[in-house]
């Protein structure tokens, strides 16, 4: 009897399996829709509408489709135009809202940097973070956007933006090398007074401002406010837009694939290189020009720890930044509909995971090395993981994202020690390590971990296929990424360093020793950050 039951069960299981594997029915023959079909679509009666629609079954129907010619009534062309506009509308809303999230990251940067500085400089540090938003935006609106995106040649998800079509290029090795765009000055020149262009501008502007605000952290507590204004303006107008054009605006780095067969060209999905490495490397240049804070190094070169005044707002700021990063990375699809944009879910999960493993990596490293799970370095580890995953977020799977974040968490600790002790470059908030070192790591990781599964409309940077890294079979992608890294280290650093040397000559980069010892709030800003607090000096050995 038992054997019979067992046999029956096995037969039933196989039958079920066979049934589930039965070939699907052939697709029904598609019949073209005619205008007459549209006229026969039922619409809710007005009597029903007047009763309200609590079940949401009547609101939004064929009568909501815009009709071009009321005499003809609804046509197929009307319906198709509405579908196209709906797709672009979804992408507009997605890109704008994610752009708003990125804008809020400015608040996160402001409190992280201010918390890591001393209370006597709170107003000055906060004001730099506050005004870099306006200074950068002005420079970018004036010229930066045109340099970056003026020759991008179209953004399919946002309705095409065909007016951004003029790139200045030179010919090198028989190939075209795009250097800078030429349309979009004041958002009016060259036909750029356009709804799609406005979306591109808003999204790219908040990215640019993120790069600028990185520098205010590394040069904090001794940077002259007037020099900060000039330096930030030039960075928003030229430094950032140039590299961003090469990577995102149709420039020569993006075309390394089409011109030289190097993978899909330089790939930086949301800006580990374009935003964070540009910010971090400029931070290194500015910190070298400005010099270390008084008391940071003893006469024998031994570094002293200068502790920030509020770890609570530091970690709160890290959370704000992690929240904003959901705009940074998933928003970089520039849409939620069409061209593989539904990958936003994968990008968001990759972002979460890398941030988490970055925080863990830094906490465990500090715990093992110094005996305590350091709070500020755990926060920096979270940010390092997020910075590193920014470039590969659209091209890797969750395992790759977790590994990239974990390495970033440890790398940020090692880099902070290296910059502090070996280079003797003073960086109060660790911006050079968080954004510079890990921005470069993020760019390289695309060339290693990209799994070849992403598909954004069938090609990337004009090369058919998916972005694939060394571990999945394409070594040439890693070469393209490394050329991007050398461009950041060799060109962006040099440009930033020379610009800031010139500013130092004409404006002066550093406040007086008296102002620095007193705290920059009164001498530079005219008001204390915490006027009712009694600030106590702390002796340091020099």
């Amino acid at each position: 009897m038992k054997k019979f039951v067992l046999l029956t069960g096995i037969v039933a299981l196989f039958s079920l399996a066979a049934f589930s594997q039965a070939p699907a029915a052939p697709p029904a023959t598609s019949t073209p829709i005619t205008t007459n079909d549209l006229k026969n679509v039922d619409t809710p009666k007005m009597d029903d509408r007047l009763k309200g629609d609590p079940g949401a079954s009547l609101t939004g129907n064929v009568s909501d489709i815009a009709v071009n010619d009321s005499k003809k009534g609804l046509t197929v062309a009307d319906a198709l135009n509405q579908i196209g506009q709906n797709k672009v509308a979804i992408n507009f809303v997605w890109t704008l809202i994610t752009g708003f999230l990125v804008m809020f990251m400015q608040a996160g940067f402001a409190v992280v940097e201010t918390g890591l500085c001393r209370a006597k400089n709170a107003n000055h540090t906060m004001m730099m973070n506050f005004m870099v938003y306006g200074v950068g935006m002005l420079a970018y609106w004036l010229i930066g956007f045109a340099i970056q995106m003026g020759g991008v040649g179209g953004v399919a998800n946002l309705g095409g933006v065909p007016s951004l079509n003029t790139e200045h290029a030179i010919t090198l090795f028989g190939k075209s090398f795009g250097l800078f765009g030429q349309h979009g000055i004041f958002l009016t020149q060259g036909g750029t007074y356009d709804v799609g262009v406005m979306v591109v501008f808003l999204f790219q502007m908040v990215f640019m401002d993120t790069a600028l605000t990185i520098v205010t952290g590394s040069a904090a507590e001794r940077w002259k406010y007037s020099a900060f204004i000039v330096s930030s303006f030039i960075m928003g107008a030229f430094t950032y837009p140039l590299f961003a054009n090469w990577a995102w605006g149709g420039g020569w780095l993006a075309n390394l694939g089409t011109n030289f067969g190097l993978g899909k060209g330089y790939c930086d999905f949301a800006g580990s290189g374009v935003v964070h490495a540009v910010g971090g490397i400029t931070a290194l240049a500015v910190s070298m020009v400005v010099g270390p804070r008084l008391g940071k190094y003893a006469r024998d070169g031994r570094p002293n720890a200068i502790i920030g005044h509020d770890i609570v707002i530091v970690l709160t700021g890290c959370f704000i930044l992690a929240f904003g990063w959901f705009g940074f990375n998933p928003g970089s699809t520039l849409g939620a509909s069409g061209n593989g944009s539904l990958r936003i879910s994968s990008i968001a999960v990759n972002t979460m995971l890398a941030g988490m493993t970055g925080g863990f990596g830094a906490m465990l490293y500090m715990w093992m090395r110094y005996g305590k799970p350091d709070a500020s370095m755990s926060g920096n580890g979270l940010l390092a993981g997020l910075v590193a995953i920014t470039a590969p977020s659209g091209f890797v799977n969750t395992v790759g994202a977790s590994i990239i974040g974990l390495i970033a968490g440890v790398l940020v600790c090692l880099s902070v020690e290296f910059v502090d002790r070996k280079l003797k470059v003073d960086d109060p908030v660790g911006a050079i390590s968080v954004h510079g070192a890990n921005g470069l790591w993020g760019v390289i990781s695309v060339g290693l971990f990209a799994d070849g599964k992403s598909n954004y409309g069938g090609s990337w940077n004009g090369v058919t296929g998916s972005v694939t890294g060394l571990f999945y079979g394409d070594a040439s992608q890693l070469v393209a990424q490394l050329i991007g890294v050398v461009t950041l280290v060799g060109f962006v650093f040099t440009f930033s360093y020379v610009v800031n040397l010139v500013i130092d000559y004409f404006v002066g980069q550093r406040v007086s020793a008296k102002a620095e010892l007193e705290g920059l709030d009164l001498p530079e800003m005219g008001q204390l950050g915490y006027p009712e607090f009694e600030l106590k000096g702390r002796a340091v050995s020099v």
Binding site: P292, A475, L482, I483, V489, F493
Partner: protein, 60 residues
């Protein structure tokens, strides 16, 4: 000294760009790009930073 550092750093970048025109294999380009990266890093850390440290504020 700082000027030399700037030139060396820029040279590393130019070396990696030149790899696009003068080398066609992936391995060859990778090698040239890595050499360019090393040159640029030497320019920043070994020359420019060292020049800055000679006149560092904490030495005075």
């Amino acid at each position: 000294m700082i000027f030399s550092g700037i030139v060396i750093t820029l040279l590393g970048f130019l070396l990696s760009v030149l790899s696009l025109g003068f080398v066609s294999s992936v391995g060859g380009r990778m090698t040239m790009v890595l050499i360019g990266l090393a040159v640029s890093l030497f320019g920043i850390m070994g020359v420019i930073n060292r020049a800055n440290l000679k006149n560092a504020i904490w030495r005075r």
